[in-house]
Subunit: 346 residues, 2 copies
């Protein structure tokens, strides 16, 4: 494979972190990245250079380009945490060399050279060779969401209660999680904002779907709490809605925040519940989970994700595939549509 | 000892729980208890009947009579979780019989027959014989606050960081905790509301004392956080101040709520910190700690508390001792004064 000297990429406009509050909506691409031409990067000894076939856009990417994710931005470097591509070159290590010419799903969280580009750099350790039957769109979204889904469902499993709550229930992530949950006899309770998502999510594995905008939402929430006694609340939204849900949960409830779609103030409605009902509030971050999990856990989790895509139990819903050159103009509108993912094709 | 048939007591006005928000201030006694005459209760087999010498008023009593503590009220029964008295009669069990005639510190959380009365009932297992050198006021406040102090300081010890934060720093509980902390080389950071508490708390063991009402409070808070990197925040206040403190804390911070002096909405200023900084929010309740701790831990903790009072390392600051008959009229004003405790003498 001939590798050019220069490449097109979506490059970060700012350095470090932002101090402005924001959420995972993508009002604009131009405020955070610009289309530019830079040198094709060289892989380090344990890294590979990828010819990117398809790059995904996750909520974590949006928070990252805004400077609100837990790692700093580097101005002028490509954004994008995840993608699928062909290994075009590799560093000297045998692990890297072994991947040359293969089609792999990759993540760039460790290399900091993003996937929204013609070429990307990834550590060989976070490249997963994919079999031909796995589609590009599934491979490009095989790491961040699926690992988050399986890792968070692991928390539910450990807690032992069959019922659990999810906000932003129509997200790709939640749909993946609910599929696994139903297969194992768990009872996901999904909170959504639109009636037309209710049937879709029941098919995806939800035991209950509540529309938070319905006039009888509070009453239905109470009924579901009484009937199902969920103890884990996986929350991508925060804000007053999340506070209300936590408040209605039974003794021993755990509110686990992993995203922030609502930037309104997040209240703890009754702090006395922390004292007398053993409730608690914590967070989940995939990076932290990766850091503290054993290698065996990670390998088993990645293998389960790949098998689910290969045999069709999991599939990625696609809203749009946008060419790299058109991404700044086209992505915001496509990203605002519900129920599916947006990809960038270099 | 001759035991009368009837006794005077402060009796609960309401049943069960309240749904009104309130705090640990005692605006009125008459709203929650009334002075009445009832039959002297009979101890069960494992219980003792106490001729009460002195009964204490703790924040937990205030929350309980208001119906905001984690156990239900029973209308017409005496309030009061703690006191000191002479064992006037006992049930048939040898543990109970052994205590007859002794002066004991007692807690009524298990018997539900309170100490704000001429006679009270307690389980023999939560009666601690006290030596003559321990004053009544120390004995009457030997269980709830001291055990809470030692149990919560145990959380600090387990976490391993020397610095930790306390709100309501001038409370009896915090003063007890800070004394233990200093003895073991820990560095308490106390948050108070008055400048005249600063010197007193430094003498009580605080490494830093910050006045939350000072104009440079936010700046001083930042400085102390940078210098001391506290990881545990023991919070009796909640509300916006507590949110601000938690927000300024470093990675891995734990906000442990054990009281609620501020009924304003408690915000989580930056929920992203739960995700990216491994921060979490939980509660502490002595009843729960008692339930889950081993007998050895409880005995060792009670022994340490008694030794600290006996040898003078701990002492109870007294605001007032109010006769039972005058309690409804006099307690609210005495209870509103800072820095010391109020006792009821039947």
């Amino acid at each position: 494979m001939t590798i050019p000297d220069k490449m097109k990429a979506l490059l970060l406009v700012d350095d470090g972190y932002s101090t402005e509050r924001s959420d995972a909506r993508l009002d604009s691409m131009a405020a955070y990245v610009h289309l530019g031409e830079i040198d094709v990067p060289k892989p380090g000894p344990s890294q590979v250079l990828l010819k990117v076939s398809l790059a995904s856009i996750n909520p974590s990417d949006v928070m990252f380009v805004k400077g609100l994710y837990g790692q700093p931005r580097h101005r002028g470097q490509p954004a994008g945490f995840e993608g699928v591509g062909i290994v075009a070159a590799a560093g000297d290590s045998p692990e890297a060399q072994r991947l040359v010419g293969q089609r792999v799903a990759f993540a760039t969280g460790l290399s900091n050279w993003g996937s929204w580009a013609e070429y990307a750099i990834a550590e060989a350790a976070v490249c997963i060779p994919v079999i031909d039957s796995v589609k590009d769109a599934d491979a490009a979204a095989m790491i961040v969401n699926p690992l988050t889904a399986l890792a968070m469902f692991g928390i539910v499993r450990e807690e032992g209660e069959k019922a659990f709550l999810l906000t932003a229930g129509a997200s790709q992530l939640c749909k993946l999680m609910m599929g696994v949950a139903r297969d194992e006899g768990y009872r996901p309770i999904a909170i959504v904002r639109r009636d037309d998502q209710i049937e879709m999510l029941k098919q995806a594995g939800a035991a209950h779907v509540l529309n938070e905008t319905a006039p009888d939402f509070s009453q239905k929430l109470q009924e579901v709490m009484r009937a199902e006694q969920p103890r884990i609340f996986l929350d991508a939204v925060t804000g007053p809605l999340a506070g209300q849900i936590f408040n209605a949960m039974p003794k021993g409830a755990r509110w686990i925040v992993y995203g922030r779609l609502d930037t309104a103030t997040t209240p703890i409605p009754e702090p006395g519940q922390l004292i007398f009902m053993r409730k608690r509030i914590e967070g989940f971050w995939l990076t932290e989970w990766m850091r503290k999990s054993s290698l065996e856990t990670k390998i088993a989790t990645i293998r389960e994700a790949q098998m689910r895509f290969a045999d069709g139990r999991w599939a990625t819903d696609i809203n749009a595939v946008v060419p790299l050159e058109d991404a700044i103009a086209m992505v915001p509108a496509e990203h605002a549509k519900p129920n599916g993912k947006v990809f960038i094709r270099p």
